[in-house]
């Protein structure tokens, strides 16, 4: 949405497409946490310090130019959002409040009370987009291909999911801002529309992907009892503020059993918590739903209320009373550091094809700091929109029917081939999610990764059931999504196999150490019909 606004400010006429409803999907809307930017309201701060912290978390793999862009432009975006009516929490004298999230050297993270940052940001952008006469919003269109002609992105082909019609769209420039890939894992914390489509579209259009092996797993996502109306990763601030205890299924503390490797670094601590939890579960000491307990029973009710007032009430409507019952938590796929490789103008190696937000790879290297995800959505969106808008102003689309032919034929074949046998695509998606979770999850080995590649191939060969019927055919939407999920899953798995070391969020049990020879970024590209890795 930020990209659309910035492009329209360059007098471009913008079509903002979303496969669900504009501004209602993706990860931002789910985020209840914070936005990091060195605005220095809480204490003296400078973007260069933010950059140092970001680079440290990235374990020598950050694209420094992108990381710098993120940190340097973060404050301007926070203030612009403020002018657009984002309700950043305020302290004394009207200063924007900032808290210190793990890994940041300063109190740098802005937020909207109470755990409402993501919806607040998304709502502000939705409102702002709706005031821009240059932006036309279109909901319920799934883009299946970016059309490339003479080495330039010239438009897109997609499906109007409500009518079932195939649509072709000519454009002077295309920005991919469809978020991350967490949906390819069984346990994930994002919306259902994060199937890695941006990566799959970019790959097929001829762009490079970078750092695809680095998926961030969040160790203590909510597992049980069933919690609705809340972000499953909400327990982090609880734990930092109130010191929740992690207990295994037998209600014993267990972190110390795995404590030997604790180097005291935040990233290590996160990885280690995931490791310890998964090991406890594997040894049969998990909680009933396959995680561990997070226990706040030692914290007095008044302290809980002080810290999280309204949230405690929302928990109560879910039948959760933290003073009485521990909750179950487990690691979950949360964010993707890797993504589409772009230059500082957010342009890919395909002219006219840009990326923005989580879809962009490289800025966060091997691990991302808490708070940097929304910052990058805002900053990279603004950069991409500005660059694409300016580029579009001087040209007309080089749309070419012949260049779109293959993409249209492929979509027609997918959209008009119905069969009642085979396996429903949502079931195949689930198979893929299981496989990715088991074999390409937080801890990986070469054998597992090779097995995963075989499994991905098998799923690809399995015919998917699509029952007939035009309008809002979920079978068909699932099949298109599965297609993208498979391409993205393969990219992640090949990259994970290629990196024979452990670094940041990529942990290989068969190569537990970091290898100083691998302080390099791995690139994934299409070679003919094959997904291939190169250094």
């Amino acid at each position: 949405m930020y990209a659309a606004i910035a492009a329209a400010r360059q007098d471009a006429s913008v079509l903002l497409l979303d496969k669900s409803l504009v501004g209602r999907g993706g990860a931002t809307i789910m985020a209840q946490m914070t936005v990091a930017a060195a605005i220095g309201h809480e204490e003296r701060d400078h973007w260069a310090d933010h950059l140092d912290d970001t680079l440290a978390a990235g374990r020598e793999l950050c694209d420094e130019k992108l990381a710098r862009l993120l940190c340097e432009n973060g404050p301007a975006r926070i203030f612009e959002m403020d002018r657009w009516g984002a309700h950043w929490a305020r302290g004394a004298g009207g200063r924007i409040r900032q808290v210190q999230a793990p890994g940041h050297g300063r109190a740098r993270c802005c937020y909207v009370d109470f755990l409402n940052t993501g919806p607040g940001v998304a709502g502000t952008l939705r409102r702002q987009v709706s005031t821009m006469s240059g932006v036309r919003r279109v909901s319920n269109v799934t883009v299946t291909d970016v059309v490339v002609h003479d080495g330039r992105a010239v438009g897109a082909v997609g499906l109007d999911v409500v009518t079932g019609d195939i649509v072709t769209l000519a454009a002077e420039a295309v920005i991919l801002a469809a978020g991350g890939l967490t949906k390819i894992f069984r346990r994930n914390s994002a919306s259902t529309n994060m199937g890695g489509e941006a990566y799959a579209l970019a790959l097929r259009a001829g762009a490079d992907l970078i750092d695809m092996e680095f998926v961030q797993f969040f160790p203590i996502a909510h597992l049980a009892p069933r919690l609705v109306g809340m972000d499953p990763i909400m327990w982090d601030p609880f734990r930092y503020k109130l010191g929740g205890r992690l207990l295994n299924g037998d209600f014993e503390e267990f972190m110390h059993r795995y404590g030997g490797q604790d180097s005291g670094k935040y990233t290590t601590v996160r990885d280690q918590a995931s490791y310890a939890i998964l090991k406890e579960v594997e040894s049969g000491r998990g909680s009933p739903h396959g995680g561990v307990y997070l226990d706040f029973r030692h914290v007095p009710d008044a302290t809980l209320r002080d810290a999280f007032g309204p949230v405690i009430d929302r928990l109560a409507t879910n039948g959760i009373d933290l003073t009485q019952t521990p909750v179950e938590v487990a690691p979950t796929a949360h964010y993707h550091m890797g993504g589409i490789r772009v230059d500082q103008r957010m342009e890919t190696r395909v002219a006219g094809l840009y990326a923005a937000g989580e879809a962009v790879g490289g800025a966060n290297g091997a691990n991302r700091l808490s708070g940097n995800a929304i910052t990058e959505a805002l900053v990279f969106g603004e950069c991409a929109g500005r660059a694409a808008g300016a580029a579009a102003a001087g040209t007309s689309s080089g749309w070419n029917d012949a260049a779109a032919e293959d993409a249209v034929a492929r979509l027609r074949c997918a959209a008009e081939t119905f069969s009642d046998d085979g396996v429903p695509a949502n079931v195949l998606q689930r198979r893929l999610q299981d496989l990715m979770w088991e074999d390409v999850g937080p801890f990986r080995t070469g054998d597992q990764l090779r097995r995963a590649l075989d499994g991905i191939g098998e799923i690809r060969e399995t015919p998917a059931t699509v029952h007939a019927g035009g309008g809002y055919n979920l079978d068909l939407q699932d099949r298109l999504e599965l297609h993208a999920m498979l391409a993205t899953a393969e990219a992640v798995t090949r990259a994970a196999l290629g990196r024979a070391e452990s670094r940041g969020a990529h942990q290989r049990l068969d190569f537990p150490e970091s290898d100083s020879g691998l302080v390099r970024n791995q690139v994934i590209e299409m070679k003919g019909e094959e997904v291939a890795a190169r250094w």
Binding site: L21, R24, I29, M30, S139, R226, V228, G471, N473
Partner: protein
């Protein structure tokens, strides 16, 4: 005692769902779904698609967070978000929003007019 435990862990309940598009005759399909305390109506619908009938259509996005606001429908006659409506042990009847044009099953036309092609 153990009998009680067995019964709760294998409990099922029934979902009655209005099917079809705008021109189709009124039809309700019944689905027997596993019941677990605290589950949402959306959980049950997702289960139906995965295990019984993948052609069943409904809108949803965020599953947990009640952030996307796309999953509105009628649950036992009341407008509700499918993801926050708790499934009662005795089951539920689910229908599309009555005041919106019907597209298919539980999906109605909730897209604002200025967001269409």
């Amino acid at each position: 005692m153990s009998g009680t435990t067995a019964r709760t862990s294998h409990a099922t309940t029934e979902l009655r769902v209005r099917r079809g598009g705008s021109g189709d005759p009124e039809r309700y399909d019944m689905y027997r779904v596993p019941y677990e305390e605290g589950m949402s109506v959306l959980d049950a619908l997702v289960w139906v698609r995965a295990h019984v009938d993948s052609s069943l259509a409904f809108r949803y996005g965020c599953v947990n967070a009640n952030a996307c606001k796309t999953c509105m429908a009628l649950v036992d006659g009341q407008v509700a978000y499918l993801c926050t409506a708790r499934l009662a042990p005795e089951g539920a009847q689910v229908e599309p929003l009555p005041k919106r044009p019907l597209i298919r099953d539980l999906v109605t036309d909730t897209v604002p007019d200025d967001e269409k092609l």
